[in-house]
Amino acid sequence: MKELLRKLTTIAAPSGREEPVRTFIAAEIQDYCDELKVDTLGNLIAIKRGGGTKIQFAAHMDEIGIIVTTIDEKGFLRFGNIGGISPHRLIAQRVRFKDGTIGVIGSEKVDDLKDLTLEKLYIDIGAASEAEAKTKVGVGEIAAFDRDFADLGQRVVAKALDNRAGCAVLIEALKRVEKPQNDLYCTFTVQEEVGLRGARTSAFGIEPDLGIALDVTGTGDTPEAPKLAMKLGGGAAIKIKDSYLITHPLVKDLLTELAEQHGIPYQYEVLPFGGTDAGAIHLTKAGIPSGVISIPCRYLHSPSEMLDLNDLEAAVRLVVATMEHPITL
């Protein structure tokens, strides 16, 4: 799975520009599903039928990034954010455009770091003039963080573990599941980072009986961290609440039972901020009982997110267990 994760995180595909990662994922799973399609917003939907309850699994393919809004007379680029990016996390970071052009994020002078906003930042692609810059990058072009995958053994560091980790889990689960006991709609969704948009429209089309998102969650296991219960190595996190969802009790109980039954390490999660695709799925049409299996992850929304491969494996096992369990609601 490490290799799969390395390939997935290397792809640059911020919200609205998911094509490269969609193509990669489609190739990975095409032999493991009955039907593969792409809907209006670009969600990749892999259907694997086992009869019975219709479950929508959702893992978002998009990552956070930036979009170029102006090129100035000196060849510097101004930009907007795609998804939640804190300006403080951007200074001196590198971004990479589609054709491989690298840029460095610089900042205007600020007296107090508290006054730092996105408007005070710019991207330097080393162009000597406006004309030169325009040969490399256009207005409206997007870029993702540029950072290599680092293998620390049991733990890995990469950009876009949010949410290529979730994608990796779903891909691996599709490969491992032998006898699905439910109708599985495995959706690799778009535009989660800008408002759960792909999940919303895909759930409307699929209208599942049950929804389970696969995403990352924060941890409280670093020095003087916010008081979160989740930690790396604590197993698959069964989400109870975040800002967009209170997990349906049926789903919480189901996932807990399956984890206990199969001896899968798990932990409960309460996240005081943020949301996942399940936030949109559960409010679709007349309501869909939903939950989330989360992978704990440090340094979220930075170019160096970190997770523990044991947690990833636990998540895969829990997803497979759910797929192979004849669910009655």
Partner: protein
């Protein structure tokens, strides 16, 4: 059952957003085995837990009227356990300043009493006392050893404020969760009044869930019902010192009929006409935004619903001592019934005439 008895039972019950079941059971029992069972045709719970109380209307194609009041209360949730003390996070909009020194109940394997402890003044720095204590700095003390806590409590257990409803002078009542269990009791009152009437509209009173988290129950219940018209019944601010006179409404002067973007102009007119005809005292509130109540969701269900909003004046909203006048609650129920009885095909037709 007297409305004040139901109000007391309901507001004392446990039911934070997303975990409304205990409070819901009171309503379900009332309408399946209790005196309410003859007031309705059908009771149905949808997948998120909204309770639909349906009373059928007359004729082949009766207009469908949805009435909504939310059952959930704001609360807290265990987010971490630290040496036997509980860290917590809010469910819904809690003013962190009301928490200090509050008694709570932690709903774990058993209901456990706890205290949100406040550092005594003796141990504080002089300037500490000038600032509000942040929620992240608070803990719940269960008075148990860390081992006992670990055995009983889990991350994700919900917590509610310990408060019993009490009667003050002049039929004024104070308790937790009046927002919006008072509205729920008003719906029950409405159904009680309708029981002997044949009205044209099919009336579906929906006791919604998770309103405090963004009117979530209302979104899915209104999509599922796809009503022709819908009224939300919620609470609004009761007058008190520090509020301009248009920001707070008098207790005992009747329900507040709201006008604003989330209210169809003809529904506003119909509500005021019904109040006048029924000699129901009422007040008027102007709202500049459609946000803040179940009406926000009902109005944009599917291809659009003609919506309205009635509010019960309530002092000290989102504290555990929310205070209202019982008469306002009863009159709100009466106005809902008068309105329901006045809805007919002709009125429905007119709603698209702009």
């Amino acid at each position: 059952m007297q409305p004040e008895t139901l109000l007391e039972q309901l507001t004392n019950a446990v039911g934070p957003s997303g975990r409304e079941d205990r409070a819901a059971q009171i309503i379900v029992d009332f309408f399946t085995t209790g005196e309410g069972q003859s007031w309705i045709t059908e009771l149905h719970r949808d997948r998120l837990g909204n309770i639909m109380l349906r009373k059928k209307g007359g004729g082949a194609n009766p207009p469908r009227l949805m009435l909504a009041a939310h059952l959930d209360e704001i609360g807290l949730i265990v987010s971490a356990i630290e040496d036997g003390f509980l860290r917590f996070s809010p469910i819904g909009g809690i003013d962190q300043r009301v928490l200090l020194g509050q008694e709570v109940i932690v709903h774990s394997r058993e209901d456990l009493p706890g205290i949100i402890g406040a550092k005594p003044p003796h141990l504080q720095q002089p300037d500490e006392r000038k600032k509000a204590v942040k929620l992240e700095e608070m803990t719940i003390d269960l008075g148990l050893s860390p081992e006992r806590v670990a055995a009983l409590v889990q991350v994700g257990d919900t917590i509610t404020i310990k408060r019993d409803c009490c009667a003050l002078k002049n039929n004024v009542y104070a308790g937790k969760a009046m927002d919006d269990r008072a509205g729920v009791v008003a719906l029950v009152e409405c159904l009680r009044r309708l029981k002997n009437f044949n009205h044209q509209a099919e009336v579906v009173a929906v006791v919604t869930v998770q309103e405090e988290l963004g009117v979530r129950g209302a979104f899915v219940s209104s999509f599922g019902l796809n009503p022709d018209l819908g009224l939300a019944v919620d609470v609004t601010h009761g007058e008190m010192p520090g509020l301009a006179d248009y920001e707070g409404f008098k207790l005992g002067q009747g329900p507040v009929i709201v006008t604003g973007p989330q209210v169809h102009p003809l529904i506003f007119e119909k509500l005021t006409a019904a109040a006048e005809a029924g000699k129901i005292k009422y007040q008027v509130e102007a709202e500049v935004t459609p946000r803040g109540t179940d009406a926000y969701a009902i109005q944009v269900a599917q291809a659009g619903v003609a919506s309205g909003l009635l509010s019960i004046p309530l002092r000290y909203m989102h504290t555990s001592v929310e205070t209202l006048a019982l008469d306002d609650l009863k009159e709100t129920g009466r106005l809902l019934a008068e309105f329901s009885m006045a809805v007919d095909d002709a009125f429905l037709e007119g709603l698209k005439c702009y």
